[in-house]
């Protein structure tokens, strides 16, 4: 399933078609990139350039003032700022590792074996892709509060472990691992758990790396919203969003924050994008 690196010249191409299509590509590329360029430039603009009239897209005299202001704002926050950083690291790390482990552990038997209930479980997972978590937000809140998870890390972590998109992608990737490999390990007397750990996980590396990225993105941006109300348990994204709310004078700092929040998950994606693409090749819904 390796992604082909070299592509031969394709047949059936006309110059006119090429021009039209690449014009479209350039146009939409600008639409996508323009606000991002705006964010990058604003983050390095001094205040007088941010509030310049008429507004200019590109920065003239780049400065790190916005970041200096951000750091000084951080140092007089309600709880030590390192606490927010710790919360985010803790939630992101535990949530990502836990979710990858739990999803892959379930994905292997569901992908490779038939046992009573396996078909209905797989069906439920596909159906659950068809609606968003926003629909179930309110009863989820009730469940979380009943379980006594309100105002704890668990309120963010445990629902993450039940995310179906990641499981679905893993399951589809594992299906295409040759049955012969699993059968022969079985002949040698390996248990399901052992096969999972020694055969499936190494081969499904692109899939769980994809899952790492998806969960990392979700958890990195999680603010805790209505679930977490103790200041000392709030994550970084919440603290930064509070700094941004400070009004016009904070416009520069806000841009610095936006760039920071964007650059971290983007970097993670750039590093691992070839694995993601390889996994997505198996993402399709079978007929």
């Amino acid at each position: 399933m390796a992604v082909k690196k070299h592509r031969s010249k394709r047949l059936n191409r006309s110059l006119g078609g090429d021009l039209v299509l690449f014009f479209f590509l350039a146009l939409f590329g600008l639409f996508s990139a323009w606000p991002l360029i705006f964010i990058v430039n604003n983050a390095f603009k001094p205040l007088n350039e941010i509030l310049l009239f008429p507004p200019r897209l590109l920065v003239r005299n780049p400065t790190l003032n916005n970041y200096r202001d951000l750091i000084s704002l951080m140092s007089n926050s309600w709880v030590p700022f390192s606490r927010y950083v710790f919360n985010t690291l803790y939630i992101t790390l535990l949530g990502t590792v836990g979710s990858v482990f739990i999803s892959s552990l379930a994905a292997f038997p569901l992908a490779k074996f038939r046992f009573p209930g396996s078909t209905i479980m797989s069906k439920m997972i596909v159906y659950s892709l068809m609606f968003s978590a926003a629909v179930t937000g309110i009863p989820s809140y009730l469940v979380i509060s009943r379980l006594g998870l309100l105002d704890s890390y668990g309120a963010i972590l445990l629902p993450t472990f039940g995310t179906t998109l990641g499981l679905y992608l893993m399951q589809n990737f594992i299906v295409q691992i040759p049955d012969a490999l699993i059968e022969s390990a079985k002949m040698d007397g390996a248990s399901d758990l052992k096969i999972y750990w020694t055969i499936v996980m190494p081969l499904a590396r692109p899939a769980w790396l994809t899952l790492v990225i998806l969960q990392f993105q979700a958890l990195w941006g999680a603010t805790g919203g209505t679930y977490i109300y103790s200041e000392k348990l709030k994550p970084l994204s919440y603290a930064l969003s509070q700094i941004v709310e400070g009004g016009v004078a904070r416009t520069g700092v806000a841009a610095a924050v936006s760039l920071f929040m964007l650059i971290v998950p983007l970097t993670v994606f750039v590093i691992s994008q070839s694995n993601v693409i390889e996994t997505m090749a198996t993402s399709g819904i079978k007929e």
């Binding site: 939409f28 964010i39 009239f53 739990i102 046992f115 968003s132 806000a254 994008q273 993402s283």
Partner: protein, 310 residues
Amino acid sequence: MVSGASDLGPRGKLQRLWREMRHNKMKYLMVAPFMTAFFLFVFLPVFSSILLSLTNFNMLQMPQFIGAQNYINLLLHDAIFLIAIRNTLLIAFITGPLSYLLCFILAWLINELKRPLRVFLTVVFYAPSISGNAFLIWRLIFSSDLYGYANSTLVNWGFIQEPLLWLQDPKYIIWIVILVQIWLSLGVSFLSFIAGLQNVDRTLYEAGAIDGVRNRWQELWHITLPSMKPQLLFGAVIQITASFSVGDVSMQLAGFPSVSYAGRTVITHLMDYGTIRFEMGYASSIATLLFLTMIFANLVIQKLIRRVGQ
């Protein structure tokens, strides 16, 4: 012990099932942690939404069964809900198909490029969807004074005389929400399409050229699209689900509540009753309707896509 499979009574069947389940003990243990989380945070919320939608429930007293009353109020007596439905359908009917087509067309175009450029463009297109709150930059772009990028550009070019109140004027709010939603929409399905295109069997193209496929459009319809039908189905599910659940973008850009409810969607209506008024029964009926709509739209579109290339 039971000798033959043919003369199994209901008891024997149960016994056999039990044996089979015990035989697969390890598999159940492996599935259990995920299924527990799934049950608690996906299945149970959906199930209890449906039940609570038939009650009057304010979180303090016990839920009180009132039958279909919530649905009757919602559909017949809630004028704002009708605005929410109209907005949600408008957003879904525009952003759903448009974002789906964009995901595909852009993936298709990128696929013909050389590797460094292809990776670069993949990142550029995908970046907005992982950017968390970065879409708030649009608040600056559509700011209502002359410092807003949109206003100052349009005034400079002479299209308008004075700044427009983009995010306060009901005429524009919904269109800006749609625009930003499209900007955000090249996500997982876009990646799925790129991957699908890269894995179409190359020999099919050569065979097609011999069989008389003359241009790229015929090639697209007769070879490419049928080869990546599974990805097309997956992408449709993701885009449909996203296009019906627009809420946060509207709340952040247009405010909550927005001017004349111009940015009100079913999700923001749900948030209003669920997190501000604490009318949980009513909120649950909104959630149930939206849930059914999403599933229905998905099943219909799946049927349609299965016909591609036939």
